[in-house]
Symmetry: C2
Subunit: 342 residues, 2 copies
């Protein structure tokens, strides 16, 4: 059923019908109601592609998905989906096999200029991210999930990684730990730098010297968690506490600790960052995992919301949101063992 035919059946012009359905003011309330009802009854719905052509709007928010199987990603998207349900806006996932961020830049360019999306969400930026520069240059609306240090004005949503890690580290220091190892995220990403800063600042507050041998970087996998933790535990003196970048990392750390015949929460304390996954909960681990916590799903929902605001005309420069992170203490953190204290 097309507009023309539908309008004919109603005895109205296509113009009026279109306006009635779009909620324009110059159509009488009575007519609008009739049109709306008949549209449902006769099953008329505007052809989306015609609408897109004439309005220039795409009705979708773009997200680039790399080949790294980011488990966070699904949660974030699920949050977006939650917010977008009923909004008549979809999520368009643009495939890429490029591992390196820089190689992905042209893809963002194509996505922005292709007319397939109205805005994009940029994830895990570097401090000086080419994607941001490009999108700004193109004048294309985007929301940054994370932060960068560029002076290009833009909308962003981030969690306070720095403060989270600073508090986590401070807490370990309070418990008497002095050699605290950190398994951070991929090198070069802003959030990794923020976490690094939080870690260093906490040490500095107590006048404890920073030891580069206690910090590593890498993707959030159980494998790296295990390998890094194993190698840390071979040091003498060995660290008595770990700050882990993710739940998966924490799983690896737990295993490494156990494989050395040590006990998490007694011999070795562990704090990790928890994005709150429905399928893997810090509270259920044994021992339960102390964590800095912030819901990835909530971030996705809010991100979608902010993008909608952006598209509605709210200036990007107004959209800056820094979320606090909870620190939840459970059984995996305890006083530093006596013999290890200085």
């Amino acid at each position: 059923m097309k507009l023309k035919e539908f309008a004919r059946q109603l005895g109205l012009s296509p113009t009026t019908v279109s306006r009635a359905l779009s909620g324009y003011p110059e159509v009488s309330e009575k007519t609008r109601k009739r049109v709306a009802e008949e549209a449902v009854r006769l099953g008329y719905r505007p052809n989306i592609n015609a609408v897109r052509l004439v309005t220039g709007r795409a009705g979708a928010i773009g997200v680039v998905m790399g080949r790294t199987g980011e488990f966070h990603f699904a949660e974030f998207m699920s949050g977006m989906a939650e917010r977008l349900d009923g909004e008549d806006i979809d999520i368009l996932v643009s495939p890429t096999t490029d591992r390196d961020l820089t190689d992905q830049v042209p893809l963002y360019g194509r996505l922005a200029t292709s007319g397939r999306v109205d805005a994009v969400i940029v994830h895990s930026p570097k401090p000086n991210d080419e994607r941001i520069a490009l999108l700004h240059e193109l004048g294309f609306p985007f929301l940054l999930h994370g932060r960068s240090e560029t002076d290009v004005p833009h909308a962003w949503l981030d969690i306070d990684n720095e403060s989270a890690v600073r508090r986590a580290t401070s807490h370990l220091l309070d418990l008497g730990h002095r050699r605290i190892a950190m398994i951070n995220g991929p090198e070069g990403r802003t959030f990794s730098l923020h976490r690094d800063k939080g870690y260093r600042d906490a040490l500095e507050d107590r006048g404890i010297p920073f030891d580069p041998r206690l910090v590593t970087h890498g993707h959030f996998t159980d494998e790296l968690g295990f390998r890094f933790a194993r190698s840390f535990l071979e040091q003498t003196p060995r660290p008595t506490a770990f700050v882990a970048g993710s739940m998966m990392t924490a799983l690896g750390v737990y295993r490494a600790v156990r494989s050395r015949g040590l006990v998490v929460g007694r011999d070795i304390s562990v704090i990790a960052h928890d994005d709150v996954f429905p399928y893997l909960t810090a509270d259920n681990m044994v021992p339960s995992l102390s964590a800095t916590r912030s819901s990835m799903r909530a971030a996705g929902a809010r991100a979608a919301d902010l993008v909608l605001q952006l598209l509605a005309g709210r200036p990007a420069t107004e959209i800056h949101e820094l979320w606090p992170v909870e620190l939840i203490l459970r059984e995996s953190t305890g006083p530093a063992p006596r013999e290890a204290q200085s």
Copy 2:
């Protein structure tokens, strides 16, 4: 830059330019080459929405994403992305907050009739799935990831869950286990039924009676893995082996076993299904996890491929793929403890 302007600059008609770029045969090779080169040089790209309007094609494959944070989902999509890279086809994720499958049916209807996608992928079907019936009725192309028992002809891709679980169970029986508990997926889904059948058949082959107290159903979370395993271990006589539905479930099972002071691989054997996640590998678990294994990412890539074939005109009735599942034995399975053997 629009077609008209671009054509004018080339001294050709819009028609010829359009044909040249779309690779139609009735344009000379020389002209085609010139057009292609100039398009790159001048940066001309057809307006996607105009193309969509006139061709009726959407250039996207639809996927419905519920609010259950399925960690498999990201891997599957990532596989799709891998195959779709360079194809000029996107993945359109349609949000829903409806938990129940039946409630999602109208969404599939809207998606199919909205013109936003050319085909959809339907996940985790029930044996008699309303979504399949609807899509068939609408004559809309779709690929089923999983299987159903409907007589509606349709394309599908599935892994051989039944055989996988039968072999896993048989192997445990070979090792002398007699009380084998199974933590299956959500009730009602075809794959859960297939796994159930594989489990029962293996028992039947040895003349071992089926005990319903040894089977549970639920989502794939560490929490359920833990809770179910705990409660199984409270039975007397307790099971000596577990077949777990997922890696997350297995994590829970490991914890439950340890929390009872038992040792995985010695006191209790565990086999789980592994979808092959980059961030959580069966081989790295301690003890390493015996698993039935099939790559979710590969399935996503193949699914995208099959959808492409479907859209290219290959009959849906020809597209049936049943993937074998590897059984990989590691340290988590061992002989049944003496005292437990009958």
